[in-house]
Symmetry: C2
Subunit: 133 residues, 2 copies
């Protein structure tokens, strides 16, 4: 069960400690640069769509099972699976973004809290209502 | 970048071809059995909550980059990242479920389309509104 890196995040964010905790907390625009070998998988993604981006949060501590949510020491320690902490056994980041434009293998997205260089694992469409699938 | 299996799905579904494509398309209840070493991460997950389950769809074809959506040959071939196909470079399943009850390391959930034995990688809470994080 080895992951394949399909691309990486290009972002003005470089310091994880200073990055917003979620995209909707002031995260900047970013570009997803997809590797040439995986580019055929991007066909049919267009500007204006909302997509889920899965990343590998490679600076995370994979041995942590409890954290103070949002790094707030006044909040009680909570099991990692009940939080969005990056520290967890499989540090897979899940980010909902809007695609602003697609230029070949580069997708510009509206707001992403992942730092520059974060590996991208997958993209998925947001599911529509049952009848529209 | 190697994944750790934190648990597995226990489900009456055994045939992937017969399984619903999404949880809200008639999928049965299932139990997530979390391994003892990761059980401390479950603390603070309770019945009634909606969670995102990440699984590893281990029967997927990882070399596929385009599919006919929903296995419907009349629909044009589409890039896998614009679909929810299990076949994709990193076959990570993403499932939104409601927790029905928690009994030690066993979480019963309302509707999951993953087949029996599917490895579980992660659980995450559904994000609340910004002010309630």
């Amino acid at each position: 069960m080895e992951l394949r890196v399909i691309g990486s995040v290009s972002s003005p964010l470089t310091d994880p400690a200073a990055a917003p905790k979620q995209g909707d907390e002031g995260a900047p625009e970013a570009v997803l640069e997809i590797a040439a070998e995986f580019a055929p998988g991007l066909k049919d993604i267009s500007a204006g769509e909302d997509v889920l981006v899965l990343t590998w949060l490679d600076r995370a501590d994979r041995d942590v099972l409890a954290v103070h949510p949002r790094d707030d020491a006044t909040r009680p320690e909570t099991g990692v699976f009940a939080t969005r902490s990056a520290d967890r056994p499989n540090p897979i980041g899940l980010h909902r973004v809007r695609v602003l434009d697609v230029e070949g293998r580069r997708l510009r997205v509206d707001a992403l809290e992942a730092v520059d260089g974060t590996p991208v694992l997958d993209l998925k469409p947001v599911l529509e209502a049952v009848g529209e699938r």
